[in-house]
């Protein structure tokens, strides 16, 4: 088994685990963690693609590497923003879940203009 296959399977498994965690974990923070896991699996996928494209004395195709660096930055910003939202939500309402209390069924006149 080459390192590409080993880490390729690892990446696929990370994606699967991330998806599972996103669906089943009730706390938002755990969902954010799962999203990061999912993201790192996808980045590894780029790494494998790049590793297969090693040529011209470069051990890993630099284009996917650059894409991953950009992607990591974006994923980090997303995490930071999600955490800020979550903390603010906790501060405002004391809840940290994405409870799907349907806004349709609330008969109260919630303000929102």
């Amino acid at each position: 088994m080459s390192s590409v296959s080993v880490f390729g399977l690892c990446a696929a498994a990370a994606v699967g685990l991330g998806l599972y965690g996103l669906i089943t974990n009730p706390q938002s923070l755990r969902k954010i963690l799962a999203f990061n896991l999912l993201g790192s699996g996808v980045f590894l996928l780029f790494g494998i693609v790049g590793r297969r494209g090693a040529a011209a004395g470069v051990g890993n195709d630099p284009v996917p590497q650059a894409l991953v660096i950009t992607g990591v930055v974006v994923a980090f910003s997303a995490t930071a923003m999600a955490i800020a939202l979550l903390l603010r939500l906790f501060h405002t309402s004391g809840s940290t879940t994405l409870g799907s209390r349907a806004p349709t069924s609330s008969r109260s006149d919630a303000p929102g203009g």
């Binding site: 080993v6 696929a12 965690g21 923070l29 090693a54 660096i69 930071a80 923003m81």
Partner: protein
């Protein structure tokens, strides 16, 4: 099976074990700790894949600053865990498991059947490296060939800051982000915060400088600088600046602004937007990177600090 393969399989197994731990362990805090360890080990995978630039980024972000954000949130939300909603019932979890496994299987299948002849742009990148005078191919892709992506990514970072700040209460708008850190000025943390930053700043600048020809770059260096600033803040030696501060705003836009200006300069003096005149390519790119490292350091630190909370 060579020793390298055994090592790789063991590494993959440990990484997967940590991933399972992160998803399955009941307490959120333990899960977060597991994720930080996972991020550091994934950086090792990147080294094995011969992508050291990415490994540095992953270690600085996935295991480092990202870990700090997540751990901080986990610590602040510890009390909320008791009130959290229940897990979905068993059948939902079973369906979720089957579907996630199917997606993972499809992905694994797609990876394993990738063509034997792998298409690559590595030769093209190496052949065109002369245009920038820099030897690190990743830096060349980021700064020259795909400059637009890098510039837009910096705007994404800035928008994340706007997004985080927009969560402030109206009363705290313009104030300082995050809680005030009071620490013993003679304590060990304050000692570390005086000792480490000079060295850390040198390391950060070194990573930027060496990024021209070797693995490294503005983002990795910026992450080091950001952590130094945060250390000083956490030790109570300095406070976060108020978000209305003019110089802070300028630093936060300096990187993308200079990128934009140089890009437009390429329009006037070079071949196209975001093209560098060959003679000045290296100094121009380094100039952008210097502005960028400041912007990145400030942005990352402020994203970690959170929304403005207090006016004093």
């Amino acid at each position: 099976m060579s020793i390298a393969t055994v090592f790789e399989i063991a590494l993959a197994a440990v990484v997967l074990g940590l991933a399972i731990w992160t998803i399955a362990v009941p307490e959120t805090y333990s899960a977060t700790v597991g994720f930080v360890a996972y991020g550091l080990l994934v950086a090792l995978i990147w080294v094995r894949l011969d992508a050291v630039d990415v490994a540095l980024t992953e270690a600085a972000i996935g295991g480092g600053l990202g870990g700090v954000v997540l751990l901080g949130a986990a610590a602040r939300l510890r009390d909320a865990e008791a009130t959290a909603a229940e897990r979905p019932d068993r059948s939902t979890r079973l369906i979720a498991a089957i579907l996630s496994a199917s997606i993972a299987a499809a992905l694994a299948f797609a990876i394993l059947i990738l063509p034997d002849y792998a298409p690559t742009l590595a030769p093209a990148v190496v052949a065109n490296a002369g245009a920038t005078g820099m030897a690190n191919p990743v830096t060349n892709v980021l700064m020259a060939f795909r400059g637009l992506d890098t510039m837009l990514e910096k705007v994404v970072l800035l928008l994340a800051v706007v997004g985080v700040w927009s969560l402030a209460s109206d009363r705290a708008w313009g104030g300082r982000p995050g809680p005030r850190h009071e620490a013993d000025p003679n304590g060990v943390l304050a000692f570390l915060a005086r000792l480490l930053p000079p060295a850390g700043i040198v390391v950060g600048i070194y990573m930027l400088w060496t990024g021209a020809d070797h693995p490294g770059g503005a983002f990795q260096g910026g992450a080091v600088l950001a952590s130094m600033w945060l250390l000083v803040i956490m030790a109570g030696l300095a406070d976060t600046p108020p978000v209305s501060s003019r110089w802070l705003r300028f630093i936060l836009v300096a990187g993308p602004c200079l990128f934009l200006v140089v890009g437009l300069g390429g329009l006037c003096f070079g071949a196209a937007f975001l093209a560098y005149p060959v003679a000045f390519a290296k100094p121009l790119i380094l100039g952008i990177e210097v502005a960028m490292i400041l912007t990145i350091a400030a942005t990352l630190a402020l994203l970690l600090a959170g929304a403005p909370e207090r006016n004093t």
